[in-house]
Symmetry: C2
Subunit: 320 residues, 2 copies
Amino acid sequence: MLGKGEFGRIRDLLTPLSGKGAFDLEDDAGVLSETLGHEIVVTTDTIVSGVHFHGSEPPEEIAAKLLRVNLSDLAAMGTKPICYTLNWSLPSSYDDEWVISFCAGLKVQQEIFGIYLLGGDSTSTPGPACLTATLFGHVPRGQVLRRAGTKLGETIFVSGTIGDGALGLLAEQGMLADLDKALARKLIGRYRIPEPRIGLGIALRGRASAAADISDGLLADIGHLTDLAGLGAEVKMSEIPLSSGARSALAINSELWQVIVGGGDDYELVFTGERGLADTLTNIGVNITAIGKITAEPSVRLIGANGNIMQVNKEGYCHS
Amino acid sequence: MLGKGEFGRIRDLLTPLSGKGAFDLEDDAGVLSETLGHEIVVTTDTIVSGVHFHGSEPPEEIAAKLLRVNLSDLAAMGTKPICYTLNWSLPSSYDDEWVISFCAGLKVQQEIFGIYLLGGDSTSTPGPACLTATLFGHVPRGQVLRRAGTKLGETIFVSGTIGDGALGLLAEQGMLADLDKALARKLIGRYRIPEPRIGLGIALRGRASAAADISDGLLADIGHLTDLAGLGAEVKMSEIPLSSGARSALAINSELWQVIVGGGDDYELVFTGERGLADTLTNIGVNITAIGKITAEPSVRLIGANGNIMQVNKEGYCHS
């Protein structure tokens, strides 16, 4: 952990971000506040320049993405976020201005999600920037949402719209040149700054039988739920909720449905439960759509408008 | 966190290392087991190839160092280790054999320290390997050891022998060519595989007024304790405990005392308390030595055999 005397400049920027149990980042470790009757949920994700971001994004945006992909994992577990640790390994080309902007970005996200910095480590690297955040949250004992638990005949729901993350990446790479520029910008925004569904995750405690966030791709993440239950799923293509950007992209190139169901980085939640589950969810700030059902047949099948199974060929989607 | 379907090969190696609350690494997050009346202590450190290790070490040794530098932070807080998360960003040149050996190394350390894997993340990187471990431990409520708390007139103690880490690095770099080869190997071993003083840290709960692990260098780490208390320290060079390797290196080159008091990576504990504190510590598996005292004068001073203040010039040691 950061110690007194190390990284003076960075500590001066980080200490104001710290909170309860962080001891002003002066100690060898931090102490997690405990809430009686709650469990502490831990998740961690690393992003690397040149792999998960290209490095020329505004530093505030990189800070947002780092925290939000982790917050999405907490959301999928029905967890209220509390605090985080941060490990950054930065090349010498990242100057003061970059670091100051990155910390400003952390502060913005902290205020949005009500979290604080517990501790961390800062190192140099001869390679690309490598950033790790580890997020901590509370959930009442026994109420953590799991990927396992889906039951035969249950309905599959998703939040928000699907495919925007993967289409946003394509747009950023200039591969959706014919798309309206404003719609393209919206998709790129969805890719760059995901919206973790914290409120929905909390509302799903005790209601959903299983949940995951959509980071690998819709069908792959449904496969994670069904595999653990030894079951399968039927998903109706026509029911998958699409943004205006996704609809427009699809109108231009009808083959993009493969990207929508196979691409990742949506960070919406996919979950299962009774058919009427969606009606019990109020004030969650996002639309919920039923897109299919859990089946005994152990595969994830996408059903087209004509009732036929659509042949998914997206690389990276490998569920049988 | 690792999700089902991602990194199949790595998950097969890591799942056997996982324990309570890790859900076989199948979920978006892990759940920390709580112990009534205890606080959860969190620490995290990152090591980067080319910065903290050169990369050609046996993978088992890199795994050991990664966990042990973190365990040393827990020791400094008087904490019993429980589990850890692991983030690895590896270049494609790290083959199956490397990964298998690294996991075998994790397993060895898990058995030594009674810890298990709670979760993690695995990414590729176009740069050098970047490894983060975040360690979790328990301490009875209110008994966490802190860096703050040192009082005027107290005695300064250290565990083990001092300077071996920094001398080991010099030996590894071929800078101690005249030193007996067996002694040099011992010093290199101390640098490569530090010994976290877990048992000592636990024994110091409620006994030591302040503690830190020696990672920045003896005088710098004493400075961390005294700065927080607005006090200073006098350390007697003649009282600093040295290994036979350090004594032999010093006999060959008397200037190496600068490395001994200024170098880091010893991972011994430095702590303060009543003069008789050492006598109350039993079965801790390491020698304890009183090396100085806490003073009102706010600087850390090293006193030579003639009673004069020795002029410390080690780069990186910057306490006034």
